[in-house]
Structure formats: structure tokens, C-alpha cells
Amino acid sequence: MTTTVPIVRQRGWARTFIRNPAGVFGLVTTVALVSCALLSIVWTPYDPVHTDVLSKWHPPSSAHLLGTDNIGRDIFSVLLAGSRVTLQVAVGSALVAAVVGVVFAALGSLTARWFREIIAVLIDILIAFPTLLIAMMLASALGGSIMVVIVAVGISFGVNVGRVSRPEIRRVSRSEFVTAGIAAGLGPVRNLTRHTLPNVAPVFIVQLSWCMAVAVLAETGLSYLGYGAPVSTPSWGRVLAELQSYIGIHPLSVVWPGLAITITVLGFNLLGDGLRDATDPRLGRPEVITA
């Protein structure tokens, strides 16, 4: 129908993003996470791994902001230190996912037709592997560690990134400036790095923020099952697992780590949503399983 098409003024994506409160919330929580992680390197109110049986189960007070746990650790300090593990897992997974994604997207879009179809089928098969199962397979062969979480999330989300960005790379690689690049004598790899990837970057960045959300959830789940962070490391997932037996007596203690995880995951999700809305509203959230 020839209705009035509302005139949308062209704005930069950054301005569109800033006007979206959900996206800004995502950005703020992300910055807060990074700040907490950096801060915890130089300062925490108490030693996060110091145990003191005499001061266990202190209620929240000015001395212990969130109280102490079953072995007398200051919960606030543990959470602050735990943000480092969370950030590590989030960034690590995103990096692995980016590499896996680029490889799949490039192989699935720039190669010969028969090879592209094989990659497409392979992606469909790999998507069926839940992140948690990949991680558990790796853990059963290598033992549990943060690295296992990073690799598992990176691979499973990377496949998804590959699937989503494949059509995008094909579109860009057929566009005129890329053809011009080839005409100017750029090789396929240089053309990929110089022209194609910068143009697909928005898709990637959006996907990777969602990947970080999945990574945080996966770390929680796997650390809870005992295949993520090792016992001695202060990690949000581990804290949840360790406090589980006491939820009947000290229910408040599990509220804090859970809240920290939820806000972080929500933040990464909203950051991704906000960036998507600001750069390319056509893209939907991936149908990836929350671990």
C-alpha cells in the first residue's frame, strides 16, 4: 500500500544505540564487569581465597558487605574476584567463536560450490551439538577446566556465527568494491581481510556479544557440575555449587552470585540486541541453546 512512509532521518549507528535504554544498560553492565575484573586484580576487601572457619556465615554488614560463606570467605570479595573468571570465559569464548566463525563463513561462502554445500551440511550437523555436551566430551577426555568451557562455547557458537554470517559474506564479496579489489590485483585472502571482513564486522560484533552471554551461562552450568573452574578458583558458578547445600539455612548467600550472573548475561544480551538494532535490525537472535 502506498501509505505514508515515515521519514527516518539517517543517523550514525552510535547515536541510534545511545538512544536505546536497553542497549545502554548492556553497555553499562559490560563496562562494570570489566571494571570489577580490573579492580579485583589490585584490590578486594578481603583475600577471596582466604578461609577462616571462625568467621563463617556472617550476615551482611559494613565489614562484610554481602556477608561470609560456609568457610568464612567474604562473599563480596569472592564475587569481585570471580568477575575475572567470568570475563576471561566471555572474552575467550568470543575470540574462539570469532576464529571458528570466520573459518566456517569463509569456507562456506568463498569456495567452490560443492565444497560450500558440504560446509552447509556440516554446519547443520554441528548446530545439533548442545554446548554443554561438547564441553562434557572435552572434560571427559581432558578433565574440567576454564579452557574447556572456552573451547566448547567458542566452537558451538562459532558454528552459529559462521551460519549467520555466511550469506552476509557472500553478499559483500559479490559487491562492486570487492570485485574492484580483485580487479586491482588483491588476492582472495587480502581481499577477505581488507574488504569483506570490515563489512561483515557489525554482524560479527552483535553475534559475539550474544556469545559472551552464552559463555557466562555455560561457565555457571559447567562449574556447577564440577567441570569448569577448579575448586580453588573463585568463580560465580563454583560459588553457587558450593553454597547449594546451605540454601535451606542461608538462602540469601546464593542470591548474590546468581544475581551477578543474571545481570551480566542480561547485559551481554541487551548489548547485542542494542547493537543489532543500531546496525542491522534484520538479524534475529540466534537459535542457540542457553547452556
Binding site: 500500500m1 502506498t2 501509505t3 505514508t4 512512509v5 515515515p6
Partner: protein, 262 residues
């Protein structure tokens, strides 16, 4: 049936897309609304049915037989839609439900407004399919929209709009998406049906040639406002407003290039 619109105004997100538009349509009357895209034609039509997009608000007055219908709750408006006012949309490709058979879609207004049995509905659908001159109506009723041509689909759209025997038919650019040859057929169909059924008609278009072939009286809309109104003949002979002049000039230019066009 009479329809009176007074100072009809539609706002979307702080923008006024229809601005104090007034018109009357008497029983059996035909009114054309012409304007360029974005002039508020479709919004005027949708406001009459209470089908404005979300976030749009309408003020002013629309009276159907002395009953104010603007601002009625959706439940009340739904009773008028189809039974008192039928509407044909522009895009036959997307206006039909892709996963329902043509027969079910034509029958639906009948089922909603008239309590008829299954067999009666079916025979009524067949009757309607014949009315809009669809070929092989029997098999066509059990087909899906994607199996039909654009012209056939628009005939189905007309059958749906007329199914519950409304006294007013609103057609929003019903021929714009069609080939020129099909356009002429569909216009001829409108002309014949509206005459035969005694239905009033509001016909919306951006094309003067189309307008001229179907109505004698029209409004010219520009940026939501009525720039000019009166007989199409006067409009062609002595367009008063700049926008009307532009439309007439544009139409002359095309017909001069293509003298065989209607």
C-alpha cells in the same frame, strides 16, 4: 447508507498524516481519492475501518448513517467491517493468507456475519467466485493463493470484500500492483459490480486515468490535506491547485507517450 467524514485527522508518532479531511458519500455514490504516495490516502481509508496501524490515532468524526464510528471499540467496529463497509487492498500478493484455501477465505466474511450452514457458505462462495468472473470457480476454491495469478488474486480480494454484502466498498489502489491489461479488466469489474449491486464506492488511486474511468467526483489529497475537490471533469479541464495541475500534467505526459492507454 450515507457516510460523512468531518475534520478527519490521523497522527502517527507526532506527525499528522491526515489533516482535517472532510467528505460525504451518499447511497450509491462514488467518490475518488487521488494523491501522490504519502499523501494520506490509505490512512484515510484505514481510519474508516478502524484498521490504522499501531501507534496511529484518529480524531474528528466519521458518521455512518448518523452513527459516530470513529473511536468505537474494536469489537463494535468489527461488526461493521465486512458487513457495512468492505475493503479491497492494494497488494494481492500479500493480502491473502498463504496457508488457507481460496474457498475458506471467501467464505469467512459470510461465516462471521451471516449464520449460514456449511453447505450454504460453500454455495455462496461459488456464487461470489462466479460474480467476480473467476475461471473454473469449482476447482479454484480449493486452491491456495500462490497458485493464482495476480489478477485472479485481486478478483478473490474483491469477492472477499463483497461477500457479506456491504453497502460501501473501499478500494485502496486495487489495480496498482497489476499489469496494464489486467488493470483494465479489474476496473471494468469494479464498474459493473458496483452498478449491479448498488454499492457505494470510495476508490483510492494515484493514477488519473484510472480515476477518470471509474468515478465522476474526487478529492485531491496533498500532505494529508484536501487540496481540491469536485468533479473529475473539472479537475481535468481546470485544475485549481498546484498539486492537481502536477497530477494532470503527469497524466497528459504519459498518455501522450502512450496514446493507446485508456
Amino acid at each position: 447508507m450515507t457516510l460523512r467524514a468531518r475534520d478527519l485527522t490521523v497522527n502517527i508518532g507526532g506527525r499528522t498524516v491526515v489533516d482535517a479531511v472532510s467528505f460525504d458519500v451518499a447511497d450509491g455514490d462514488r467518490l475518488g481519492i487521488i494523491g501522490e504516495s504519502g499523501s494520506g490516502k490509505s490512512m484515510t481509508a484505514l481510519a474508516m475501518l478502524g484498521l490504522l496501524p499501531d501507534g496511529a490515532t484518529a480524531t474528528g468524526s466519521i458518521r455512518l448513517d448518523d452513527r459516530e464510528i470513529l473511536g468505537l471499540p474494536d469489537r463494535e467496529l468489527a461488526r461493521l467491517r465486512g458487513s457495512r463497509i468492505g475493503m479491497v487492498f492494494q497488494e494481492p500478493r500479500t493480502s491473502l493468507n498463504p496457508i488457507r484455501t481460496i474457498g475458506r477465505q471467501i467464505m469467512e466474511p459470510v461465516r462471521i456475519h451471516q449464520r449460514l450452514g456449511r453447505a450454504e457458505c460453500r454455495s455462496r462462495a461459488l456464487e461470489l467466485a462466479k460474480l467476480v468472473a473467476l475461471n473454473d470457480p469449482e476447482t479454484l476454491l480449493s486452491r491456495y493463493p500462490h497458485q493464482l495469478s495476480g489478477g485472479q488474486r485481486q478478483r478473490v480480494g474483491i469477492a472477499i470484500a463483497l461477500a457479506a454484502e456491504p453497502q460501501l466498498l473501499i478500494a485502496d489502489e486495487p489495480t496498482t500492483a497489476l499489469d496494464v491489461t489486467i488493470q483494465a479488466e479489474i476496473l471494468e469489474l469494479f464498474d459493473r459490480l458496483v452498478d449491479a449491486l448498488g454499492t457505494s464506492l470510495i476508490f483510492i488511486t494515484h493514477d488519473l486515468a484510472v480515476l477518470q474511468s471509474i468515478v465522476a467526483r474526487a478529492l485531491v489529497l496533498e500532505r494529508g490535506q484536501v487540496a481540491e475537490s469536485g468533479s473529475v471533469e473539472d479537475l481535468l479541464r481546470a485544475p485549481a491547485s498546484p498539486i492537481a495541475r502536477r497530477i494532470v500534467d503527469a497524466a497528459r505526459a504519459t498518455s501522450w507517450q502512450k496514446p493507446e492507454a485508456p
